[in-house]
Symmetry: D2
């Protein structure tokens, strides 16, 4: 029998992406929709799932979660701060919002990267006296970065990460998102709050779970986040200085090897490879590579020695910010939590 | 009386940009056109200068330079290697081609940055037995970078420069240049040979002229060069680690102060400011800032402390790759050479 | 002494375009700003005029127009319906809003096209008992179309006009305007209400002023309005069937000839040519031609015989939708009204 | 047993699209590759089919077709004129080139539209003494137009067709195709030769097969073809005046009904619907709709009454120019020819 899930923020584009990611899902069934406002236009390129569209949309602030096994929260940060604890009293919450990402007892998960942070959930439930819990997903720009850093971190240790992103406009949503007038024939060199998120989240994700909290990993992240005239897909130019020597071939092998165990779990939304490594220097490109393995694989390329820092390599990655970087990544996280008995 | 100049490569877009930059010039008069192929479409957005268009186009390989005071060379690197020494036997050559940029006795000039390298010209003439000489302009991506680095180099010393560029498509010219199919809704993470040029040229430009040659400056440049869906204007995210402590305010002041003396020379093509510093974090943007001071000023913004490296700041710059970064920058260089008596 | 003008809606992008168009104006001085909301970001690419920026911003609904000679109204249609009659009681109002465009006694002006509709103003003042009046500017898509139709209408009579537009995104403003996610790598085939505006306005503009009202011209306009990935500039593919035979050469000559008298009035914001005709089949293009004569000239090209309809020619036009098509066109209209003694 | 096919022009992007369309095809097996030049970069976004890539590439001009059942020709018009008759002496040729489209005995096929023109093939073989034949595919811009016109033509008769296209850049290929510098933030109002092709081909496709030749259909097509900043997918705004009255609902029903019989043939590359009709006025859009039914369905929308012409409706269509409009459409044509016993 499928688990019954609620999608909160169901009328926004982020919520609709959950409806798409959950269509015909073997384990989850969308049973309840909630939002602040009423029906709206369908925004996703995929056809709207008829079953989900036929459900009524309830007020998010007074939701009856009887019989609901899991809440996917796709609301903005501010309403998330109020709504998610309400839900978590009785029900697990998997959230793409940033509101609780940095609470000490709240895990910040990337499937395949740090699912060992899972026992923070037990701490959280006990400490807060909740039957449910809140599990959060990082910022879409952090996700591709942390996925590609993880094998380097595990094998060689990290000292410094210097990253410049060229982000797709879908990351900004539609309220109002990026105005076309601002990005045609242009680069916008600033995304408010983004660099801080990337710098802080990456270290928590790669941090160590201790007794009841996470110690952020001990390296520095320096990010410059820009917006480009790209619809979907974040491109990031990364320079990584490591603790131990790491040749280009070492880094390449570590990335290719990475995630075998996780993808072998057979979770329905998992990619076949966590990282696809390209040897063609013209790859990865967002238009070509964002949809790799249905947007769930991160593509890396241009691996090469860096000469500015010690034990350093450089590479470029492309990650799908609204698939692995948003709803579908959150569904993958929920699949893991279910398999481990947390839902 | 105006100096009589020849434009070689006059039918390509780079050559046509020279014709535009020289239109109604107070000191130079276009008197001779040369190219490999015959008449072609006019490619520049500016109207074609009628006087120059009325001139016949001669074969570049058998050019009679009698009565010509200066040659502007806008040919590709390969023909430049053959043609420019021919011309330089009798006549000064100012070139945007890369063929001779790294010869020990050939200066690689950016106006306002390293015009003190000018006496390499004397060395070159003597060594090669030429009446003329070859003076070269750097790659368009190097130019904005070196201009913004120069005040930091002079005031605080440089140790490491880490740069990621998002370059406009005009930098690739039209033969065939960047294909639209490759860049719409996309980022291309590689530009063949570009990173090596930036890394090598920057150090020569900021190098020290000794007895007959230049010692490249002693810092490391690590570049990642990408192409974005931008028509004109290169955007570069720069991280600079310096020898001495340099606060954000120090860097800002040094950039604003930079170039006062040079712009006060009153050269016809010079901007009023070498660097325009923006405090609005959303600036500079290529569509808004590339045309600053007719494309001759470099715009910098997002100056902030970097935490990854010691004594380091980060910033974003925008530079017009086909104005200051190409023909008009070369004309400005020629104006200086003329003022100093080299032409 | 300059006329003192108020700009209402001064904090939106349309209002800011008025501030740019009025900067250093020889006849008008911005003396009063009004808006609904307070200070906002500066949106225009041109630098903000310091004098205008230093003025306080008053509430549009309770504006004291003492000492003000003219109001430029750049508000949305709905507030315009309430505000403009308030202002017109005492003061001339030149408006880009659509609220009053189709009132029988309100002229819908395009400078150089139908300024003979000016004596509707007398009718309006008398009928409404106002000391001021409302004069309106058409939709930005109508303007280029009506300008190019006018010489054909005058010389050959019009029967049918079939037009497909590919419009720039700036026409939608910024609240929220066109979302980048909707237009990158795309065409949007619908702009709500636009086709009806073009079809109705064009006939009123070319209509005949009778005793106290305008009889719309007797031809049919059939429009398809689409949005393209263009920042500024509307491109329109036009097919015109005329009453009398009209060769391509006839149409070309009529367009070139058109507007000589108007531009010879020497109004400060007028272009030197109302229509620039291109013989190069690749022109006009919005990026190349929108800024012709500071965005005040309409560019036409691809004039050719049409075989589907009788006495028909086809052409493509480009018009700057936020210069001649918005604030600067409205300022030009005001210049004419002032010269004729209406302000 | 699968038919053995050759792909000529196999190293260009059009030829590579054939390799993609034929990968794992149930009826055809790529057995021979030919081209003028040697190996090149792989240009298609789809992964290269390993089997086809492992084949040697022979000279197109001296091809041994022993054992080959069918040639797909993806060369340019000029070489097609020489090569295709050579091949057709012995072997059926299905071509996307324009060289023979207007020969009286050469069919110009769109699958599902005019496959009854098939017995021109018998005429052609007899007349030319060939064992094989040449069957051609129309220009990519004609294809979507003719597909949507066909149901209107059959049910109501056509008098006049007025069409403005906004075409994707992939239609121009890569040699050199559309230069990015020409199309970013722009519309190019002219595509050399395109309008004539559309006007002539449409009437041949909807023409009547008589004794040994086709009488073009008796209506007028007036086209304006422009290029937009769209990667793939042609958008066309169409006005159709018919012989008999046709309401919007009539046109809609005819389009929806169209092609049922053809798609029920079960050809491997056929879409499930020839035309998808949208009621949402914001559809079809190239980025959303080009890939409908793997790029083989044509999407139509904005059906509405036209007031300029009698018995006229207007609509907008989107057609995938490099799927149904090129290789995959040609493969579908070949499937039909095979089913009918011509291959």
């Amino acid at each position: 029998m499928k688990k019954r899930v609620a999608v909160v923020g169901a009328t926004g584009i982020a919520g609709q992406q959950f409806l798409v990611a959950l269509q015909n899902h073997p384990w989850f069934e969308v049973s309840l929709l909630a939002a602040k406002t009423g029906a709206r236009r369908w925004w996703c390129q995929e056809e709207p799932p008829p079953q989900a569209l036929s459900l009524p949309v309830y007020q998010a602030s007074s939701l009856n979660l009887n019989g609901i096994d899991l809440v996917f929260s796709a609301v903005e940060s501010e309403p998330a701060r109020e709504l998610e604890p309400l839900y978590a009293k009785t029900t697990p919450v998997v959230s793409t919002a940033s509101a609780f990402r940095h609470e000490k007892d709240v895990p910040l998960f990337i499937p395949g990267v740090n699912l060992d942070h899972i026992h923070l959930i037990d701490v959280q439930k006990k400490k807060r006296g909740w039957q449910g819990f809140i599990a959060t997903q990082p910022n879409c720009t952090t996700i591709g970065l942390a996925i590609t850093l993880k094998p380097l971190f595990d094998n060689f240790g990290l000292k410094k990460v210097i990253m410049t992103s060229m982000q797709g406009v879908s990351g900004a949503g539609r309220s109002p998102g990026v105005i076309a007038l601002d990005i045609i024939d242009n680069i916008v060199p600033f995304i408010s709050g983004e660099e801080e998120k990337v710098e802080k989240e990456t270290r928590k994700i790669l941090g160590t779970v201790g007794a009841g909290s996470i110690t952020p990993a001990d390296f520095v992240v320096s990010a410059t986040c820009t917006r480009a005239a790209v619809s979907e897909g974040h491109t990031e130019a990364v320079l990584v200085a490591m603790v131990q020597p790491c040749s280009v071939e070492d880094a390449r092998a570590a990335m290719i090897e990475f995630g075998r165990e996780f993808v072998s779990l057979g979770l329905p939304s998992a990619p076949k490879h966590m990282i696809i490594v390209h040897d063609d220097p013209f790859r990865p490109q967002p238009r070509w590579d964002r949809d790799a393995e249905d947007g769930m694989a991160t593509s890396a390329g241009r691996l090469r020695k860096d000469t500015a820092l010690e034990n350093a390599v450089k590479y470029v990655l492309v990650s799908h910010n609204t698939k692995m970087g948003a709803a579908k990544g959150a569904v993958l996280m929920a699949e893991y939590l279910l398999q481990k008995g947390y839902i």
